[in-house]
């Protein structure tokens, strides 16, 4: 008799405790009707949870029209299946919009989007232990991907600055403005099983330490899918380091059609006029460095190729990129650039790229104009890079005359493969580099390409072995076509 009573009392206590730790936003006035602005109710729930030491903000099914949601420490935002947070369009009134972009005097070293965090749908600065999870959707309908500086305009879905212990799990994100997620100066960041289909960048991981990105699908036809950066947005240098990206799919299908599983391909052009983007990239902002990073088991489709860029003074060191397959690549499948744009505080020295291991890469149907590029600048070589087990099916079709082109240095130019014009090599163009190793690299050309397979210019201590074209072993890769 006494024992069952004790169990009931214990169960009631546990139930009360759980109830106390969970805050249903409807209890705070959220209407979930897609018309009311529900962010004040959600923010009230967050503040109440914060006051009580933390908890779960429960967002049941419904459509929650919102401006800025201010995330706090020790909070889990749980988006139930059928729940959608919809970014509202800014209105005409003083309070009808997103939080104002905070001042950042170092704006000129990176673009506006990287320099401000508060003008976002969901943001946190200097907080810790935050999780956003559940099967719901974050729909950035009223966010801009463009350059308006008006008060009230929001341009990012989720923004974290100088936070730690952050997890994003299971959610979907649609049409998110400049960034679906921007994390700047975040330590211990996990993004797992997140689906993104957005009109500019997917995940921007900027000056972050210890990052796990796993099992995510990111469709970003108009900009990069997963981007590691090291900007000067924090107003100090910080490397992006100890990052793994694994099991991810990046693509460039028409906006919104990956989310609806329609996979449309009617819009080949991106706003920058370099065709669909949707890739994994390091840079462009690279004032700090990139250290100790592994990318593995990832898929690229209908997008640009892998781009590793250091142009603002940072050091890129100790990378392993392996087990990647790509199809329908619209520019260089592999692009490594050490440049001297130097959008960093004055006297920042030119950066470095070294100790990079790229292996087990398969590419099908890649555009041939820019082949693959590894280019440092005079006096600043890319060092110690190995390529092994690489298999590339190029479209081909370029002429002997194209093989005679002189490639401009363009040391300070914004890095994209098109910065060099048509590349005179059909396979790899390597310049200002040393200790570059190629082993078991196989090329296939759908159309005959009369440019030389490899061009080395200012390259030292480098080896090429076991090269094949259309299945036939090549004796001299510098004269082979």
């Amino acid at each position: 008799m006494f024992k069952p009573l004790l169990i009931i009392c214990f169960a009631l206590f546990v139930g009360m405790y759980i109830k106390a730790a969970t805050y249903n936003v409807k209890d705070f006035g959220a209407k979930a009707n897609g018309k009311n602005i529900d962010s004040p109710a959600i923010n009230a729930a967050i503040l109440e949870a914060e006051k009580n030491g933390g908890g779960t903000i429960y967002i049941p099914a419904g459509e929650y029209l919102c401006y800025s949601i201010r995330l706090k420490s020790n909070i889990t935002i749980y988006l139930e299946s059928g729940a959608t947070i919809v970014a509202a369009f800014p209105g005409a009134g003083k309070d009808e919009g997103y939080d104002a972009a905070e001042p950042n005097p170092d704006n000129p070293y990176q673009d506006f989007g990287h320099s401000h965090w508060q003008n976002s749908l969901m943001w946190a600065i200097g907080e810790k232990n935050i999780t956003i999870c559940g099967s719901g959707l974050i729909y950035g309908k009223g966010l801009t991907r463009e350059e308006s500086r008006l008060p009230g305009v929001g341009n990012k879905a989720i923004a974290f600055k100088e936070c730690h212990n952050i997890t994003l799990r299971d959610i979907s994100m649609l049409r998110c403005g400049h960034f679906a997620v921007i994390a700047t100066g975040v330590d211990n960041l996990t993004i797992t099983n997140v689906r993104v289909d957005t009109n500019r960048d997917g995940f921007d991981i900027d000056c972050c330490r210890n990052v796990r990105i796993t099992d995510c699908s990111i469709n970003t036809p108009w900009d990069d899918a997963i981007v590691l950066k090291s900007s000067y947005g924090l107003r100090y240098f910080k490397d992006t380091q100890n990052v793994t990206i694994s099991g991810c799919y990046v693509s460039g299908f028409d906006n919104g059609t990956a989310y609806t599983a329609q996979w449309e391909t009617d819009e080949p052009q991106a706003p920058d006029h370099g065709f669909t983007v949707g890739r994994i990239k390091f840079g462009t902002e690279s004032s700090g460095g990139f250290k100790n990073i592994a990318i593995t088991n990832c898929i690229f489709e209908r997008c640009r190729g892998l781009a590793l860029e250091v142009v603002d003074g940072g050091h890129m060191e100790d990378l392993v990129i392996s087990n990647i397959t790509m199809r329908d690549i619209v520019n260089a499948p592999i692009f490594l650039r050490l440049g001297a744009r130097q959008r960093s505080p004055k006297s920042t020295p030119i950066g470095a790229m070294r100790r990079i291991n790229i292996n087990n890469i398969n590419v099908y149907n890649a555009d041939s104009q820019y082949s693959c590029i590894i280019s440092g600048i005079p006096g600043h070589c890319i060092e110690d890079v190995s390529f092994s087990n690489i298999n590339i099916y190029f479209k081909g079709g370029f002429t002997e005359e194209d093989g005679k082109r002189v490639v401009p240095e363009n040391e300070t130019v914004y890095p994209e493969p098109w910065m060099f014009g048509t590349i005179p090599a059909s396979g790899f163009y390597v310049r200002h580099a040393r200790k570059i190793l190629f082993d078991n690299v196989r090329f296939h050309f759908a159309e005959k390409d009369k440019r030389p397979l490899f061009i080395f210019d200012d390259v030292e201590k480098s080896d090429i072995s076991n090269i094949r074209v259309n299945g036939i072993k090549v004796e001299n890769p510098f004269t082979a076509h």
């Binding site: 972009a101 990176q110 309908k141 009223g142 463009e146 500086r149 008060p151 920058d272 994209e416 098109w418």
Partner: protein
Amino acid sequence: MRNLVVLWMLILSMSIMAQMRDFQVITPELTGTLRLGLIRQNESLWLSDYKKIAAKKNGTETIYTIKHEWLNKGSIRISTKPLLDTHGFVMKIETTDIPASIHLFWAFGGCLGEVINLTGDENSLKPEFCKDNVFSIEGNSFTVYYGTSRKLRILEALVPPDSDVRLSDAHQQQTPLSFFNSGKKNDAPALAALTPLKNNEAVYFCFYKQNPKADYNYFMLPELYKKGSYEVHSETQWMKSTPD
């Protein structure tokens, strides 16, 4: 009016009956063409095909008054003014006593990015001018990217709320309705849209090159139309635009 010409080449000192032409944004390159039409259920017409439109010039403002059998005894008044702080123009459309069945049709595209000679008699929203125009539509605003990757150009636009805007095929401009229903599978992308018109309620368009003094939202357009300029909130002054 600096380099901008809202090409409405008939400079009139008095009201006359005329044929209305499309609106071209010249900066001095051809930065796009706005075409207007009317839709009544399953019928549609281009205003540029209608030969009896009263046109009047009043300083920098150009005013067109449209009367048509579809409008019964009502009328549509279209007025344009150039912007003072940037290349661009703002347009106001007002209606009086028009039937509820009338929708405004508008199309924009053909951002060529090159200086060309325009005769003024032909439609300058040509399919060949539309190639690689990329439209980013955000509610009732859009941005169009044109030119080349090495010489990229951008134009901003604000259009009436409640417009049903579609990416469409500039090859199919026989009528506004054929344009509106043409679909996005094409090599000549342009925008086509339907906008409901309400009596005694003005709607606005604005096409402009963005700069620190010219950064607009739709609610600003009535004042922008009156003054040709809108003072941007002072908090934005410190935010300098930098390229990515």
